[in-house]
């Protein structure tokens, strides 16, 4: 076990780190060498104390009146959220959303590389979506075991989600990034991270209803 893997980072902090990274990457591109928590906070419209506390979870250390060295900070953030490592992943369910995710360049930039996609639709077999081949769902287990894939992105229709999950887990998948609105039942050793778009819509509609604050 590495020294970083048993540290505990607050989830709200983890969620903010990618934004910080985006901001300081832009500054780095402009040639800036240092950045203060205040700079980041102003750019994102949040509180600078919160930023400083979040950054304290990185090993980066700041200098008063100057801020943090950008290269150091980028490395520290990437290290926490695992964007300095590369992983191979498969995508299951090459429908609208699945295809959109395959085409998003941001994932490979952050170390998540789609090496294959699987679908139940025979017509898609052998076709490519954004340089990723669509394979028959029948070959799922074979591919996972042969290439030792650990990460699956799940974009299948709800009714198929649990069944596909069982197959993924059985084949040795260690983590599932789930985009279907279903609570997946998996053994405790498997990580499931679910995204639900409808939560965001709900918050949006409530805020709309009460007007802007």
């Amino acid at each position: 076990m590495t020294d970083s893997s048993d540290k505990k980072y607050p989830v709200p902090t983890i969620r903010r780190l990618p934004s910080y990274l985006r901001v300081i990457k832009a500054l780095d591109f402009e040639g800036r060498e240092f950045v203060s928590a205040t700079d980041i906070a102003n750019e994102l419209g949040i509180d600078s104390i919160k930023v400083r506390k979040d950054l304290a979870y990185t090993e980066a250390t700041g200098k008063p009146r100057v801020g943090y060295r950008i290269t150091e900070l980028m490395h520290g953030i990437r290290s926490i959220i695992g964007w300095d490592r590369n992983s191979e992943a498969i995508l299951v369910g090459a429908g609208c959303l699945g295809s959109a995710l395959l085409g998003f360049p941001g994932f490979s930039k952050r170390g998540l590389n789609f090496v294959a996609a699987f679908d139940a639709d025979r017509e898609k077999y052998g076709t490519y979506v954004h340089e990723c081949e669509i394979k028959p769902i029948e070959e799922l287990e074979k591919f996972i075991t042969e290439r030792l894939i650990e990460i699956a992105v799940l974009t299948v229709p709800s009714f198929a989600a649990q069944q596909v999950t069982d197959r993924l887990v059985n084949a040795g998948i260690k983590g599932i990034w789930n985009f279907s609105p279903v609570r997946l039942k998996v053994p405790p050793s498997v990580v499931v991270q679910s995204e639900n778009l409808m939560s965001g819509l709900a918050v949006f509609m409530v805020r709309m209803a009460r007007g802007a604050e």
Copy 2:
């Protein structure tokens, strides 16, 4: 101002309500008439006390040993998150993600109806993506003002996000559901709800790194 619009609902509660709705809709479909907080909690793998507290924000009232009347609860939840009302919305940026959103049937079921999409790519003009016409971005303001559209879903590339936002705001848009990783500058009267996929990826990777708990 209606009596519901100045009530304050905790954001975590709002985010959970769609899941509750999904669960009880399924039970309703099976013919069940009542549901307890415990039922919902078990189905979602969360704490029943939390569910009961969340449901207390609806006007639905439960009976000991029986639970809540499902029809009443569905109405109560839908009322809070605005899914009992209909809104017309436009989508700007008919790329991969935008097209995927247009094709998702869940939105119109929840009262968010895409009446048009706009894109800067001439080749797309006049084509349809999931029954929604792609119009030239030049017609954006005209369409918004003529049809009195209040909601826009933003799926344009980052570099165009602020510029498009300015146009939307200028034309009278009241709320923007933003899928680009950019902090949009808008007047205080305009609601911006931003979704950032990368937050989810970060949390996923951190959890993977420290293994399943």
